[in-house]
Symmetry: C2
Subunit: 424 residues, 2 copies
């Protein structure tokens, strides 16, 4: 029996996280989204963030001026880092900073990992990973005279070449004692497949290599336990499920045990032991602070703090439960209403294997996404034929999921109509 | 004859830039600065910026959400870069981007310069330069198997070891055809001495090396003519005289002629030819855009744009004229009122050699600065005995300069009183 609109509305009525939606700006004006399913590209604006940024700009920058640094801002990268660490990453304090872009932070952790295994010559990454991750593994390897080996793995879904083996088999094929570090993404940016973090970390460490995780698509949507799983280094972005805003600074984690030997490839005054000493030689700050480089974005840091506070209040367990329920509803509705139009679910159907987005495959995905976006139903297109829908547990309602599927169904029916007219 | 308070007030009354002060937030409440002479560390808040940021946060992020990227934000780093280039740097369009921190950008231009002269083994920097510049020259040299030579120059003032030669002599001593690039600061962060950009650039290029300039203390206070002087690469920060706010993104310039061969050491999706193609291999964007790495700070970019618009409106010539007049007034008042207390002017007395800040030397400089800051007269202390006063032409009044000198004189008189009491 098909899912009804009433059933969907009942899900919202019973949602324990429903109240969080009101804590975000969710406009209903003519330019506002009707269904926003791209919170995994840019999360919505928390009302508290708008308020906080006004305060920081007008009261702190405007009135405290340079005094803001010593009064409030200097410790922010670690302070917000600890909040992200404890709320989202399963990391004890003192191991996370927030600053710079994800790109810059990936470069930092790759250099740092290579430095910690300086007797080894190989960096490993996944062929299907997000472009930036791949670009940087190649660049860092080139800069350090290392070579790259690629994990040629299937993401475990119909979205991949069927000949590709699962990631653990593919990883085993390239791992040996020449490998300094392996960079993997926790949740695949296209398929949403969750990698086995503890299992893969263990395999990597079995050959003495370091496990470096990109958490961009899991942080704030899927529980992460970096300390418990013995991860070595990690990075991720804050503008998706952590709602830090466009271009918000990224986080960077290094396990305590590596701090003493940690090399900082982009040393700047903010990571020096005494920022204001203007010392003759670079003396890195003790602990994770040494991974800072230049002056961090104060506005970005406050925005991340506000976003993560909401995640902390909701709790990652409740967020995960709703993420599973939202993606399950979406997949069910696609099967019922869009499969007949040739739409295929390219994300894992097992909820334990799936993050908080769902990718659908259709040869018209680009046009579908463009035209639906114009009508306020906002998803994301990914090459070559993927319609990616992000379901952000704090802000996405079950009704939005319903609406998006109806809009897509209507689009296909109109399109079919149109095709028939053209043919006749 | 001594300068009088009336004469100083008359300077404000006749100041053609006086109207700009009202375009900034200049509070007069109990927590607000009485005299803010640290705009060379963090510039004041333009009223338009507070307004713009509210709009961007609430209307663009809040309502347009992910659509903001394609509608408005993607071209911002180049758009704001061109504005900075044309207004402040003397750079034709297409050669400047704004993104990342100054630290990250220095690393980028040093790697890029070394890559453009990959047959050479030496990087050169000045021993007395800002710590970050020195740290990065050492780090990049280490990463690329190069060596560092130091320019052991005097900054040309009483602030330096008298034995040190002038910068051109010191530079000549280390320049030869092994040198890939030389990093120099245009305005010294302590003494405010202006380096001879065209002359030094020419000497560097005479041996086939590249001239890389750090403009952090000149951008927005001293005219810069990168194209006319044939500079190769440059960077600088935007939160000083450009009033971009705490941690605002930095600018990066590469002359057109180097674009085709330009290596990007931190390749990320934002500098790729097609940001959204998720291509298999890194194909750099044509032109200066390839120097972008990760997702830039949108809030920071808008803040820089607003700050630079005010500079554009005022014009660099008028800004330079007022910068000279402000520093001249300050030096005159110090001679009249503070010299007797042992305060020494450690910046060049020739206005053509001096940027828009003045550094004063006194063995009590740290305590003086701390205690005056508490009373709302805000300057900056620099190791070991320097009181640095930044005079930001768009926002600093002549009356503020007067007030700061009076406050220092009162402090010395109280201190002297106190010393006498203790002695008796």
């Amino acid at each position: 029996m098909s899912t009804t609109h009433e059933q969907v509305l009942a899900l919202d009525a019973a949602d324990p996280l429903a109240g969080f939606r009101e804590r975000f700006v969710i406009g209903t004006g003519p330019g506002d989204p009707v269904a926003y399913l791209d919170g995994n590209s840019l999360g919505r604006l928390p009302k508290a963030t708008a308020e906080r940024l006004r305060h920081v700009v007008e009261q702190q920058w405007g009135s405290r001026l340079i005094r803001g640094w010593t009064e409030t801002w200097v410790p922010l990268p670690e302070q917000v880092g600890d909040l992200v660490g404890q709320t989202v990453l399963g990391a004890a304090p003192g191991q996370v900073v927030v600053a710079d872009s994800t790109t810059v932070n990936i470069a930092k952790v790759l250099h740092a990992a290579a430095g910690l295994r300086s007797d080894r010559q190989v960096l490993v990454a996944a062929r299907a990973d997000f472009p930036t991750d791949r670009y940087l593994v190649e660049a860092v390897a080139r800069q350090r005279g290392m070579s790259v080996r690629w994990v040629e793995a299937s993401a475990g879904t119909a979205a991949d070449a069927p000949a590709d083996p699962p990631v653990d088999t593919a990883l085993a094929a390239v791992l040996d004692r020449d490998v300094a570090a392996v960079l993997l993404s926790h949740v695949d940016y296209r398929t949403a497949r969750i990698a086995d973090m503890p299992g893969l970390t263990g395999r990597i460490q079995d050959v003495g290599a370091l496990a470096v995780w990109d958490l961009s698509h899991s942080a704030g949507s899927v529980p992460v336990a970096l300390d418990a799983h013995g991860v070595d280094l990690a990075v991720g972005c804050t503008y998706k499920y952590l709602n830090g805003g466009p271009g918000a600074p990224a986080f960077l984690y290094v396990a305590d045990r590596h701090h003493a030997e940690l090399e900082q490839p982009l040393p700047g005054w903010f990571g020096a032991a005494d920022v204001f000493s203007m010392a003759a030689d670079y003396v890195p700050a003790p602990g994770i602070r040494r991974m800072l480089s230049g002056t961090p974005s104060v506005l970005g840091l406050f925005a991340v703090e506000e976003g993560v506070r909401l995640v902390a209040e909701a709790g990652m367990d409740a967020i995960r439960r709703k993420g599973i329920a939202l993606t399950r509803l979406l997949i069910g509705l696609v099967d019922e209403q869009l499969a007949a139009h040739g739409v295929e679910v390219a994300s894992p159907r097992d909820p334990d294997q799936r993050g908080a987005h769902v990718v659908l495959r259709h040869h018209q995905a680009r046009r579908l996404n463009d035209e639906l976006t114009e009508s306020g139903v906002i998803g994301d297109f990914r090459n070559p034929d993927l319609w990616r829908l992000g379901l952000s547990p704090l802000t996405t309602s079950y009704a939005e999921v319903w609406h998006a599927v109806q809009a897509a169904r209507d689009w296909f029916e109109r399109d079919h109509e149109h095709a028939r007219e053209v043919a006749s």
